[in-house]
């Protein structure tokens, strides 16, 4: 299994989390750590870049739900871009797109953060 690489780009009140690899249960620690770091730096909008993600399983989606729980409690907005059409469909089936809107590219995602 390809371990996930997580890179955090921090800007004023905004953070972009670039993901590369597989989003499975193994990704939980790194993703939560990146999220917490971004929030600690006062980010109010966090954008997840899935462009280099090839595989997301149900455990990986549970990790996204855990992030969502935290973000709702902390008043942080989550955004996503770069998901393949298949995983957009999966996110939609689960209902995640309602809470983590997906955009075609980073610029649109940034624009939505306001």
């Amino acid at each position: 299994m390809e371990e996930i690489q997580v890179t955090l780009r921090l800007e004023e009140k905004l953070a972009v989390v670039d993901l590369s690899g597989d989003v499975t249960s193994l990704a939980e620690k790194k993703l939560l750590a990146a999220y917490d770091k971004a929030v600690a730096q006062k980010a109010k909008c966090i954008i997840f870049n899935f462009s280099s993600v090839n595989y997301i399983n149900s455990a990986g989606m549970s990790v996204m739900i855990t992030l969502l729980t935290r973000s709702q409690n902390q008043g942080v907005t989550l955004r996503a871009f770069g998901l393949s059409s298949h995983f957009q469909k999966i996110f939609d089936m689960v209902g995640l797109l309602k809470y983590i809107p997906h955009f075609d590219n980073e610029n649109e995602a940034r624009a939505s953060c306001g």
Binding site: T24, M93, Y99
Partner: protein
């Protein structure tokens, strides 16, 4: 406190107590004896003085200076002596006539109460000659620094001279000897005690050696080392325990080996039995086999034959356990091999028999029913080698299939030359065929009356129109209700076939032959056996995707299939096999011109989608529900059909089907 310390302490207490009591008794007795001797001695000295007085009185009735010197010379113990006190006339009463230091002093004074008491006693007795008695008293005056010490005295009255002869000695001088005995006794007690401690400690240490070894051994055994043992020399109870332990370990090793052999046999057997019934249009088939012991002797099989023909086999081996399983696997191999080269059921059985007669032990045999469902001719062909005759339920009536009149009915493996007859019966829509081994009809109740064929027929009639899926279990439940027990002594195997429609094209994936894999136009099959570790699901997912690409599925559907297969495998790895790396998840990917099926087998108890509530994202976000639990939900949404099936003692299978548009 350890047992050893307790034992040592107890032994020491006992020794000290015993020796102390014995010592105390000896000391007391010796003190008494010495006191008696001392009193006798003091008395003897007084009587000696009296005798001296008598002797000197004889010639001239004078107490000469010589007599007085004789008396003064007498010594009793360290500071004891004889005093002579004048008792008359009145003016002389109480004056010391003989005394080591105070001669001439009147001691009939309150300063010497014991003297006054003696004088009173003598006077009260009329001052009679030889009047005598003991007088114990306290030294009242300063005498050689011994004031206040206890003294023993014996007095005697010498009438002729009115003398009181009084011998006295200090008690401590007399008992000094007894105290010497006491000191020696204490030393002896201490010596005996120390020797006893040494001996007791030594013997208990020796006694406990094997126990310590036993403790170490149990640790080794707990760590899985069954080759460990203990060297026993002791012949006592602890030695016996150690020897029993060695014996237990040998038995344990043997039992473990037997258990492992059973496990291998069980695996061999379960590998040999079909994991699922074939999916055949127009037919529905269900089967179940419950071994009575860990390894049973019953078996069944489906034989893919050419054309629209499906072979079915049900049988049982005369033995059970490992040997039964070995014969069973041999019989199944022989039948499968024979079915590849023979067209009729009697030929298949005859050919199998020839091989089994040579292969299996003389006292073993295999009873087999072999049938061929020909779905072009809508006929069941069959031959029976000693197996219970299957039943047919048609239009509400249940009866046996017709018995062969001319052919042999021997089980396989007994006689080299047997000639079976192939029978046939035309199939009709709604026919229900029930194939079974003798396990169910031989189940007996408390009065040892078997469930029997008639009750089985009634049971079939009762359940003929209920769900076929659990019909075998319903028939077994009826037999169990009749017998009142759930523990069956024989293996139970049942196979039911329901004819739904006739003349349907028989294009099941179960009919795939090896040849077909090489032909793009015909179905193919891929098998994978995965360790139960997360990550391996990717292999199944990639293999299924590759098969789907070969079959021409769209990229989107291939992606759906990938996720569905991955999630199904994750469930099997995590929930079915509990991440036990030694358990395998078997994946069977089959293709046919209409559809692709993926079957995932695990060893778990299974799960049905109906029992799983649809996950609620909002509840999960609010933390009211586990964020996980999406797998089955996604699988059911991503493929065309999902089926869950649990096979008793064999495990669980999830079948995914994706149809080609």
């Amino acid at each position: 406190m350890t047992l050893r310390a307790k034992l040592i302490l107890m032994a020491l207490l006992e020794i000290i107590l015993t020796v102390s009591i014995v010592g105390a008794v000896i000391y007391r007795e010796s003190r008494k004896e010495i006191e008696t001797l001392a009193r006798d001695l003091i008395r003897a000295r007084t009587e000696f003085a009296y005798a001296l007085c008598e002797r000197y009185d004889e010639p001239d009735h004078q107490a000469t200076a010589e007599l007085k010197d004789e008396i003064r010379k007498v010594r009793i113990a360290a500071d004891g002596y004889i005093a002579v006190i004048q008792n008359a006339p009145a003016e002389q009463k109480g004056v010391l006539v003989i005394h080591p230091i105070d001669e001439g002093r009147n001691i009939n004074t309150p300063e010497f109460p014991h003297i006054q008491e003696i004088i009173q006693s003598i006077d009260a007795a009329g001052q009679s000659d030889r009047y005598a008695g003991y007088k114990d008293f306290i030294q009242t005056t300063e005498a050689r620094g011994r004031q206040g010490e206890k003294k023993i005295g014996y007095y005697m009255y010498y009438k002729p001279w009115d003398w009181i002869l009084l011998s006295t000695a200090y008690e401590s001088d007399i008992f000094g000897r007894a105290d010497a005995v006491k000191g020696r006794t204490i030393i002896a007690i201490a010596f005996i005690g120390l020797a006893a401690i040494f001996l007791v400690t030594l013997s208990i240490r020796k006694m406990f050696g094997p126990l310590r070894q036993l403790t170490e051994l149990t640790h080794k055994v707990a760590e899985g080392n069954l080759d460990a043992s203990i060297v026993v020399e002791s012949k006592d109870e602890i030695g016996a325990l150690a020897r029993s332990f060695n014996f237990m370990l040998r038995s344990l090793k043997q039992n473990l080996r037997i258990s492992q052999e059973f496990d291998i046999a069980r695996r061999m057997q379960s590998e040999m039995l079909p994991k699922t019934a074939p999916q055949i249009p127009g037919l529905r088939i269900e089967a179940c086999s419950l071994p009575a012991t860990e390894v049973g002797g019953d078996f069944y099989d489906f034989l893919p034959l050419d054309g629209n023909r499906l072979g079915i086999v049900i049988g049982d081996v005369s033995g059970k356990g490992v040997s039964g399983a070995m014969v069973m696997t041999g019989a199944l191999s022989a039948i499968r091999f024979a079915a590849e080269e023979n067209q009729t059921t009697n030929e298949i059985l005859q050919r199998s028999n020839r091989r089994l007669v040579n292969d299996i032990q003389v006292n073993m045999f295999v009873a087999v029913f072999c049938g061929i469902l020909d779905l072009e001719k809508n006929v069941l062909y069959y031959s029976n080698a000693g197996q219970t005759m299957p039943m047919l339920c048609r239009q509400g009536r249940v009866g046996f299939l017709p018995q062969s009149e001319n052919g042999d009915r021997f089980p396989l493996g007994i006689r080299p030359q047997v000639k079976f007859e192939q029978m046939q019966i035309a199939l009709q829509p709604d026919d229900l065929l029930v194939f079974y081994t003798d396990g169910i009809v031989d189940m007996v109740n408390g009065a040892v009356e078997p469930f029997g064929f008639e009750r089985l027929q009634e049971s079939i009639k009762k359940h003929a129109n209920s769900s076929l899926h659990d019909l075998p279990q319903r028939l077994i439940a009826d037999a169990e209700a009749y017998t009142g027990v759930k523990d069956h002594i024989d293996d139970l195997t049942l196979m039911v076939v329901k004819v739904d429609e006739l003349n349907a094209p028989l294009k099941s994936e179960s009919m795939v032959s090896d040849k077909a894999v090489q032909d793009d136009e015909t179905p193919g099959e891929v098998r994978l056996s995965l360790p139960s570790c997360l990550g391996y699901e990717r292999m199944a997912m990639d293999a299924a995707a590759a098969m789907a690409r070969m079959m021409g599925f769209s990229a989107e559907r291939i992606e759906d299939l990938r996720t569905a297969v991955s999630e199904t495998c994750i469930n099997a790895i995590e929930h079915g096999n509990k991440l036990n790396a030694a358990s395998r998840v078997d994946v069977l990917i089959r293709s046919n011109p209409q559809a692709l099926t993926v079957q995932v087998f695990d060893n778990g108890p299974g799960f049905a989608s109906a029992t799983q509530a649809v996950p609620q994202l909002e509840k999960k976000i609010r933390g009211e529900d586990d964020p996980r639990g999406w797998g089955l939900f996604l699988v059911e949404k991503l493929v065309d059909q999902v089926e869950f099936k649990t096979m008793p003692k064999l495990g669980h299978v999830t079948t995914l089907m994706m149809k080609l548009a």
